[in-house]
């Protein structure tokens, strides 16, 4: 059972889930860079300021792009505004969902919760289910059979990856789960990580969301216009997804599965300020996984602290894709392949489970 059998079984209930547990890869101890407690504590400190500033800019950007899109609709002049609005709606919400889900974006809890729920609605991620799936992602990052958020499964399905840039599979799954949840049910996989006491919340939110989506469709029919469905619901989620997928694939794409060291299965990539605003600094992904309670606005500082213990960051998105694309293509035929990573001299990778303290 030690050797992985290909193709891997990525379900939460299958062969590799059992294997991960047997090998001690589940809920294991992971490598952590030896940053002093005092410094980490300093970096973990919360503040509302940066996220309030960013959220005000975010909301203003929504109103401006939507306003111009509506004003120019249906002329071609509306297209660039829809495209910009779509990136806000379908991509920037991914990072807001993420940061506010961790509860680190704002110091004030209700602010995290409000932005979390808004972002979840836009990107069509059931807030309770995704909170728990992401919890698992952090416990068992890229452990096959344990991590429900492995974006690119092997062997690589190229059309699936390309379709992902338009959120085809994600949105289809989201619509399906909306109906399942609204009917008062969870999938078998969701049942493995959403505790019973949280389930009624899933059903309640799904029913509200379904009512909103149906109302938007009704308004569109009443107006004899596509405008409402271009602004709210699955469509903007799809036509605006490409930026979050572009950046999201850099997080773990092509890297190792089943290791207990984030330096081997996660990637930090330098990005320009616009992408970093959309992505809320999740380009510092090794740092985020190793110390998930450090707020997004402190990650550049954590990156500097961790430099002696990690490998150099990819210098750009293009630089990252230069290694990701060949790896994904190679993984079509050789799903056991992972991009080799060389850690700084004297820093050992953690690849085997160690006994819990």
């Amino acid at each position: 059972m030690d050797e992985a059998i290909y193709p891997r079984d990525y379900s939460m209930l299958g062969r590799d889930a059992k294997r991960a547990e047997e090998l001690g890869l589940s809920k294991a101890q992971w490598y952590a860079a030896p940053i002093s407690r005092a410094r980490i504590k300093e970096l973990m400190k919360r503040s509302d300021g940066p996220a309030i500033r960013d959220t005000l800019i975010w909301f203003a950007s929504f109103f401006i792009t939507a306003g111009f899109a509506i004003y120019f609709y249906p002329s071609w002049w509306s297209v660039p505004f829809f495209l910009s609005y779509g990136v806000l709606y379908g991509s920037s919400t991914d990072s807001r969902w993420h940061e506010c889900g961790h509860g680190t974006a704002f110091k004030t809890r209700w602010m995290n919760d409000v932005v979390y729920h808004i972002a979840c609605f836009m990107i069509m991620r059931p807030p309770t289910v995704w909170r728990w799936s992401h919890t698992r992602h952090h416990t068992d990052t890229i452990i096959v059979g344990r991590d429900p958020e492995i974006a690119i499964q092997r062997p690589t399905k190229i059309w699936g990856v390309i379709g992902g840039y338009f959120s085809v599979g994600q949105t289809k799954a989201a619509v399906k789960s909306l109906f399942i949840h609204a009917a008062g049910r969870l999938t078998d996989e969701e049942l493995t990580y959403v505790p019973e006491m949280e389930r009624s919340r899933v059903y309640f939110v799904a029913r509200i969301w379904l009512a909103i989506h149906l109302a938007v469709i009704a308004i569109a029919l009443f107006m004899h216009s596509f405008l409402p469905v271009l602004l709210v619901g699955p469509l903007p989620c799809m036509y605006g997804a490409w930026v979050y997928v572009l950046t999201g694939i850099t997080q773990h794409g092509g890297l190792a599965e089943d290791v207990l060291d984030h330096r081997l299965n996660s990637r930090t990539v330098m990005m320009n300020p616009i992408l970093r605003f959309i992505y809320w600094n999740m380009n510092y992904h090794v740092e985020h996984h190793m110390f998930p309670m450090v707020p997004y606005h402190q990650l550049p500082k954590l990156y500097e602290e961790m430099k002696p213990y990690t490998l150099p960051a990819n210098t750009s998105v293009i630089d990252a894709y230069r290694e990701i694309i060949p790896a994904l293509l190679r993984q079509i035929k050789d799903p056991s392949y992972a991009i080799p990573r060389k850690l700084p001299d004297g820093v050992a990778p953690m690849t085997e489970p160690i006994a819990a303290e």
Partner: protein, 104 residues
């Protein structure tokens, strides 16, 4: 029944902070609140057994360093997902410069 254990010196714990204390195969977390009072809880998060001493103390809340689970360390109350089970608290007393916890 009481079993007071000498856990640490008062100065070992900074204000609004937490340290880990291991004793007889058990692990505990010792807190010093912003108003300079001391508290003790089990050392591992009830969600996934992560050491709370690596977490962040904010007022009377300890936040787990891994998944953002929060407890009120003065009462042990779980404050929302992903922690659903309260954490055990222990009585604390101060004697001179030392902090004792009752683990009975």
């Amino acid at each position: 029944m009481t079993q007071w254990i000498d856990a640490c010196a008062k100065d070992d714990v900074a204000e609004e902070d937490v340290i880990r204390f291991d004793h007889a195969g058990q692990t505990f977390a010792i807190y010093r609140s912003p108003d300079n009072k001391f508290y003790a809880t089990d050392g591992l998060c009830t969600h996934e057994k992560i050491h709370l001493a690596d977490g962040l103390v904010m007022d009377n809340i300890i936040e787990c360093p891994k998944h953002n689970g929060r407890f009120d360390y003065t009462t042990g109350a779980a404050k929302g997902a992903p922690v659903c089970v309260n954490i055990k608290t222990y009585p604390v007393k101060l004697e001179g410069a030392r902090v004792f916890i009752n683990i009975a």
